[in-house]
C-alpha cells in the first residue's frame, strides 16, 4: 500500500498530509512533484491544501493544468483513491473530477476555525469507519469554500448520496448559523459517482492528534488505509 501527496507550487499542507500518513497512521508515503506524469505504484493520492499557483485567477484554476492532473484523472478512472483537501477540493472541482465550484466565502473573508460536520454517508472508502450521523469537529481554513452547483447537480448529489459531509452545529443540526461560508445545502464534502474521489473543505489532517485539539480526522485516513488493505486481499 502506498500513498502519494502531490506537491504543486504553492501547496502548503503537503507536509501536514505527509506527516499524518507516515507518522500518525504509519503508512508508506511519497511526495509527488506536480510535473510527474504517472502515478504508477500508488494506491491513494492526496491533493493537499494550500495556494497552488498562489490561487491567482481563481483557486485551483491553474493547478488543473499541471501535468500530474492528467495522471490523477486516469488514476481515478481506474479506481485509485483520490482525496482533495481544501485547495485539493478546489482543484478537483476545477478539473471536473468533482462537480460544482467553490466560490468566495459569503463573508468575503478568510475563515480559520474549528467547525462541526455531520457524516452523511459511510459507504465510501473514506468514511466507512465513521458512523452515519456522527458529528466531527474539524478545522477549516479557506477564503473560497462556498460550495455551489446548479439545481440539477445538487439533486443528483442528493439522489446518489454523494454529499459525505455537511456543516452542522454541536448537536448535529444542519442550520444556516452552522454554515461557515455560505455553502449550498451546507455541503462540506462530496464524492464522485464511483465513490473513489472525495473532496472536502475541512482539514482532517489538522485534527488527527489529540494534542492538536482533536483526532476526529484521523479516522478518515484509517478508513482509506483499511479500504486499501481489504482491496489488496481480494
Amino acid at each position: 500500500m502506498k500513498f502519494g501527496v502531490v506537491v504543486f507550487p504553492g501547496s502548503n499542507c503537503d507536509h501536514d498530509a505527509y506527516h499524518v500518513i507516515s507518522k500518525v497512521i504509519g503508512q508508506p508515503v511519497d511526495f509527488i512533484w506536480h510535473q510527474a506524469t504517472s502515478l504508477e505504484g500508488y494506491d491513494a493520492v492526496i491533493l493537499p491544501g494550500g495556494f497552488s499557483y498562489g490561487d491567482y485567477l481563481r483557486a485551483g484554476a491553474i493547478a488543473r493544468f499541471s501535468p500530474i492532473m492528467r495522471a490523477v484523472t486516469s488514476f481515478a478512472a481506474t479506481g485509485g483513491l483520490v482525496l482533495g483537501i481544501c485547495n485539493g477540493f478546489q482543484i478537483l472541482c476545477e478539473s471536473g473530477l468533482l462537480p460544482g465550484a467553490l466560490l468566495p466565502n459569503r463573508t468575503m473573508k478568510f475563515v480559520c476555525q474549528f467547525v462541526h460536520v455531520r457524516v452523511e454517508a459511510t459507504d465510501t472508502p473514506f468514511t466507512h469507519l465513521y458512523e452515519r450521523g456522527q458529528i466531527l469537529s474539524l478545522p477549516i481554513a479557506h477564503g473560497e469554500g462556498n460550495y455551489y452547483c446548479d439545481a440539477e447537480t445538487l439533486e443528483r448529489l442528493r439522489r446518489e448520496n454523494r454529499i459525505l459531509l455537511r456543516y452542522c452545529d454541536e448537536q448535529g443540526r444542519v442550520t444556516e448559523e452552522a454554515n461557515p461560508n455560505g455553502s449550498l445545502d451546507n455541503i462540506a464534502g462530496i464524492c464522485n459517482r464511483q465513490r473513489n474521489v472525495f473532496g472536502l473543505m475541512p482539514h482532517p489532517e489538522r485534527a488527527a492528534e489529540e494534542a492538536l485539539g482533536g483526532a476526529d480526522g484521523r479516522i478518515l485516513f484509517h478508513s482509506m488505509a483499511m479500504a486499501l488493505a481489504e482491496l489488496a486481499q481480494d
Binding site: 502548503n12 506527516h19 495556494f51 498562489g54 480559520c112 489538522r206 492528534e209
Partner: protein
C-alpha cells in the same frame, strides 16, 4: 546612463542626508559622490538602516546568554532550544508603509520578516504580530485596521505559516501613526544555520527570486522621516507583495542550502540590492562587484539609481562556491524562479557596481556600514505630570454603584475584548504544530521531531511607557515572561521592536534611552538576552507622535509538551487561587482610561525579585501537575482575567465562578476597595485553578518562594459572582458577559461594510 548632475543642497536633502553628513562623505571619500553613490549612501545612512540615533543606547542591552547562538547583527537571532534544534526569530516594524497603504504595507512586513528567518536556513513555523491603531470610532482607523489584518492574513495564509498570536491595542496617538510589527520564528537543526556573509574571494554572487521593478524606491528613507499632510503622495514608495513567489523562494532557498554549495545568503529588504551587497561584503571582510545589466528587471529603462534602490519584494542575494553555480541555478529554475550570476566576491572591501559597461559606483563598504554616522542626540527628561490619587473620583472616594455594569463596559473595551474577528482571518493551524489556539497567554508550537515545544508572546504597553518609559519597559518584559511561564515554558530570549516618534526631539530620545535601561534591567533579571530586533523612529504625523511603544517578543521552551498549560477553568469545584498580590496600582490602567478618560500615573510598581518568584512557583506547579489552569493578570486587572478564565473555548465549556475574598488594601478609601480589587493592574500575579486536594502543596510551594497566595473562590455554576468583604459586588450570568466580550470587534468592523 545617468547624467551626472551637480550635487546641490536640495539633492542632498532629497536623499535624507544633512549637509554635515554630506561633508563627512566627501571627506571620507576624498571626492564628491555621483548621484547613484549619493543615493546609496543616503539610504545606508538612513535611520532605518544605520540605527544612527539608537546605536549608542542599544549597546546597553544584554545580548549574551547560554542559549544564544547568534545575537544582534545578523538577519535574525538564533537560540538553542535543546535536542539539536535552534530557533531563529525576529520582529520588525512596517509602520510607515502600513499607514500609507495598509494592505500592502502589512503584507510586505510579513514577507520581509519571513525572509529574515529563512535567509538563515530556518523554515518559518510561526508568525505573530503586534498592532496599534487609532480609536475604532473613526472610520479611517477601521479601514486601516481591516486593510492591515487582511494584508497579514493573505500573505501568511498563502505562504503557509501559521499566525499563532499577537496583540492589538487602540489609542488616540496611533490614529495617524498605526504600528504594524511583524514577528516570525523558524526552526533549524543545530549546525545548519547560514549567515549573510560574502566569503571566498572569486565566488560568484547570485541574484534569485522576483525581478526588480520601480517599486519601493527609497522605502527605507521614507521610514526615516515623519509624515506631513502630503504623506499619501508616498504611496509609490510602498512595495507590493507576492506571497506565492515568496513560498517558491522559501522552498528553493532551503533546497539550495541543503546542497552545501551556498556560502552565504541575504534577503533584499530595506535598501534592496544596495544593503545586501555592502552588508554581506562588510561582514565577511570582502568586497562585492556586480553588473546591473545582468539583474532581472521587470520594466525597461531602469537606471542604476533605481535598480540599486528598488525595494521590490521576494528577492535574495546568494554567494555560491565557485564552480557550483549551475547546480544552484537549476534548483531555482525547478521552482520557476530567476537565478542569475550578477557578480563576484572581491578582496577589495569595496562595493563596485557596473552599468552599461561603466563603473557607476565604487565605494568602500566601511563608509556604508561602520562609518555611518552615530549620534548622541540631546535628551531631556519629560515625565508627564499627574497622579490618579488626585483625580476627583479618588479624592471624593466615589466608588461605583454597579460593578456588574463596570465589568460589562470593561469587557466591551476594544483593548480587552475578544480578538476573534482578527485571528479568524489568519490560518493559525497550518503545519499542524499549533498546540494552542489564539487567545492563550502565549502561543505554543511543537517541534515534531522532539518532545519539546516553543512558546512565544508579544507584549507592549504604550500607556505605561508614556507615563514612565523605564518602568513601562520593565513591566513589558515582566509581562512577556509571565505569559511564557503561564503556558508552561521557561523564558529564553527576546527580540524587540522599538516604536518611537522623532529622535530629533530630546524628550523622545530620553524616553528611548529610559526604555533601553528598563528593558536591560528586566532582561538581566529574567536571564533573557536580546538577540535582535528593530528600531522604528519618526512615528509621527503632523507633529503628533506615538507613545513610546517598545514591543517585546519573548520565546520560551517547554521541555515536555505534555506540560503545556492553558488559561481557561476546566472543572466544577476546582479551587481558584491567586499567586502574587493585588495593590493600589491603577496608574496607566485600562480602567482609568475607559471609565475616567484619564491616562495618568504612577504606573504599577514592579519588584523583579517578586516577579521571578511568582513565575518560579507557577512553573514548578505546572511541571508537578498541580494546577489545571494558569492565567496572567494584567490589562484590565483581576476582574477581566477571571472572566477570560470562565469563557468557553474549543473543547472547553463555559464556567461560572464564586469569588469570596476579604480585601482591605492599606491607604485606600474603603469605597474604592472594589475598584482596586477588580481593576488594579498590579504585576506579578497569576490566577491558577486546581483540585482542592492539591491546594496545600501549592501553598507550601508559594511559602517556600516567599510568594503571597490567596484563595479567591471556586469554579462552578453559571454566574460570575464576586463577594468582597461579605458583600456581593458582582453577580452576572457568564453567558451574557461572554457575549459582550465576543462581539465588539465584529460590530465595529462590520460598520465598514455598511459604509462601503
Amino acid at each position: 546612463m545617468l547624467e551626472q548632475p551637480v550635487i546641490t543642497p536640495q539633492l542632498i536633502e532629497a536623499q535624507g542626508l544633512t549637509e554635515d553628513e554630506y561633508r563627512r562623505i566627501v571627506e571620507r571619500l576624498g571626492r564628491e559622490p555621483n548621484l547613484v553613490e549619493l543615493g546609496i549612501i543616503g539610504v545606508m545612512w538612513s535611520e532605518h538602516c544605520s540605527y544612527k540615533s539608537s546605536k549608542v543606547h542599544l549597546r546597553r542591552l544584554p545580548t549574551e546568554g547560554e542559549c544564544v547562538v547568534q545575537g544582534p547583527g545578523e538577519n535574525a537571532g538564533v537560540v538553542d532550544i535543546g535536542d539539536g534544534w535552534y530557533v531563529v526569530f525576529k520582529i520588525e516594524s512596517h509602520n510607515h508603509p502600513s499607514f500609507i497603504e495598509p494592505y500592502q504595507g502589512a503584507a510586505t512586513g510579513v514577507g520581509g520578516i519571513l525572509r529574515d528567518v529563512f535567509t538563515m536556513g530556518a523554515r518559518p513555523v510561526a508568525a505573530m504580530n503586534s498592532l496599534r491603531f487609532g480609536p475604532l470610532t473613526e472610520p479611517v482607523n477601521r479601514a486601516i485596521m481591516a486593510g492591515v489584518v487582511k494584508g497579514i492574513g493573505d500573505y501568511g495564509n498563502s505562504f503557509g505559516v501559521p499566525t499563532v498570536g499577537g496583540e492589538i491595542m487602540f489609542g488616540e496617538c496611533y490614529a495617524r501613526n498605526p504600528l504594524v510589527n511583524a514577528f516570525a520564528l523558524g526552526l533549524v537543526r543545530e549546525g545548519r544555520v547560514f549567515y549573510a556573509q560574502a566569503g571566498g574571494v572569486g565566488n560568484p554572487v547570485l541574484y534569485v527570486g522576483a525581478k526588480t521593478g520601480r517599486d519601493g524606491i527609497h522605502g527605507a528613507t521614507m521610514a526615516s522621516a515623519e509624515f506631513d499632510e502630503q504623506a499619501m503622495e508616498k504611496r509609490p514608495q510602498v512595495q507590493v507583495g507576492d506571497p506565492f513567489m515568496e513560498k517558491l523562494l522559501l522552498e528553493a532557498c532551503l533546497e539550495a542550502l541543503r546542497t552545501g554549495a551556498v556560502v552565504g545568503m541575504q534577503d533584499m529588504g530595506a535598501a534592496g540590492l544596495t544593503c545586501s551587497t555592502c552588508e554581506m561584503g562588510a561582514r565577511a571582510g570582502t568586497g562585492i562587484e556586480i553588473d546591473l545589466d545582468r539583474v532581472p528587471q521587470r520594466e525597461q529603462g531602469m537606471n542604476a539609481y533605481e535598480i540599486m534602490l528598488s525595494e521590490s519584494q521576494e528577492r535574495m542575494l546568494l554567494v555560491v562556491k565557485r564552480g557550483r553555480e549551475r547546480e544552484i541555478i537549476k534548483i531555482f529554475e525547478k521552482w520557476g524562479l530567476d537565478a542569475v550570476v550578477i557578480g563576484r566576491v572581491t578582496e577589495t572591501n569595496r562595493l563596485v557596481v557596473r552599468h552599461g559597461g561603466k563603473v557607476v559606483v565604487d565605494l568602500p563598504n566601511r563608509l556604508l556600514t561602520e562609518d555611518a554616522p552615530i549620534y548622541h542626540r540631546p535628551m531631556t527628561p519629560a515625565l508627564p505630570e499627574g497622579d490618579y490619587h488626585r483625580l476627583p473620583f479618588w479624592r471624593e472616594a466615589s466608588g461605583h454603584e454597579d460593578y456588574g455594569e463596570v465589568l460589562r463596559r470593561m469587557l466591551a473595551s476594544p483593548n480587552l475584548c475578544s480578538r476573534e474577528w482578527v485571528y479568524r482571518q489568519y490560518d493559525h493551524m497550518v503545519r499542524t504544530n499549533s498546540l494552542t489556539l489564539p487567545g492563550e497567554d502565549a502561543a505554543v508550537i511543537r517541534v515534531k521531531e522532539t518532545r519539546r515545544a516553543v512558546a512565544m508572546t508579544l507584549d507592549g504597553n504604550g500607556r505605561y511607557c508614556h507615563l514612565d518609559p523605564r518602568a513601562g519597559a520593565r513591566l513589558a518584559v515582566a509581562e512577556a515572561a509571565r505569559n511564557v511561564v503561564c503556558v508552561g515554558a521557561r523564558p529564553l530570549a527576546i527580540t524587540n521592536c522599538l516604536n518611537f516618534a522623532s529622535p530629533e526631539r530630546p524628550d523622545v530620545m530620553w524616553s528611548f534611552s529610559e526604555v533601553i535601561d528598563g528593558m536591560a534591567e528586566a532582561c538581566r533579571a529574567f536571564g533573557t538576552p536580546v538577540t535582535g530586533g528593530n528600531v522604528s523612529f519618526y512615528n509621527e504625523t503632523e507633529g503628533r507622535g506615538v507613545y513610546p511603544t517598545p514591543v517585546i517578543g519573548m520565546i520560551g521552551v517547554i521541555e515536555e509538551s505534555r506540560h503545556l498549560m492553558t488559561h481557561r477553568f476546566k472543572d466544577e469545584g476546582d479551587l481558584i487561587l491567586l499567586l502574587g498580590e493585588t495593590s493600589d496600582d491603577l496608574g496607566g490602567s485600562e480602567y482609568l482610561e475607559r471609565m475616567h478618560r484619564a491616562v495618568v500615573g504612577p504606573v504599577p510598581r514592579l519588584d523583579l525579585a517578586r516577579e521571578r518568584a511568582v513565575q518560579e512557583v507557577c512553573l514548578t506547579a505546572i511541571r508537578e501537575g498541580l494546577i489545571k489552569s494558569a492565567h496572567d493578570c494584567s490589562d484590565g486587572g483581576l476582574a477581566i482575567a477571571l472572566a477570560e478564565c470562565c469563557f468557553s473555548g474549543h473543547r472547553n465549556r463555559r464556567h461560572g465562578v464564586e469569588i469570596d475574598v476579604e480585601f482591605a488594601p492599606p491607604e485606600v478609601p474603603e469605597a474604592l476597595w472594589p475598584v482596586i480589587f477588580l481593576f488594579s493592574e498590579s504585576p506579578s500575579r497569576i490566577i491558577v485553578s486546581l483540585e482542592p486536594v492539591k491546594a496545600d502543596r501549592l501553598r507550601e510551594l508559594a511559602r517556600a518562594h516567599g510568594v503571597p497566595i490567596t484563595e479567591l473562590g471556586r469554579v462552578g455554576g453559571e454566574r460570575y459572582r464576586v463577594n468582597l468583604n461579605r458583600q456581593t459586588i458582582i453577580d452576572e450570568p457568564v453567558t451574557e458577559l461572554e457575549m459582550i466580550w465576543r462581539r465588539p470587534l465584529d460590530e465595529w468592523l462590520s460598520l465598514n461594510v455598511i459604509a462601503e
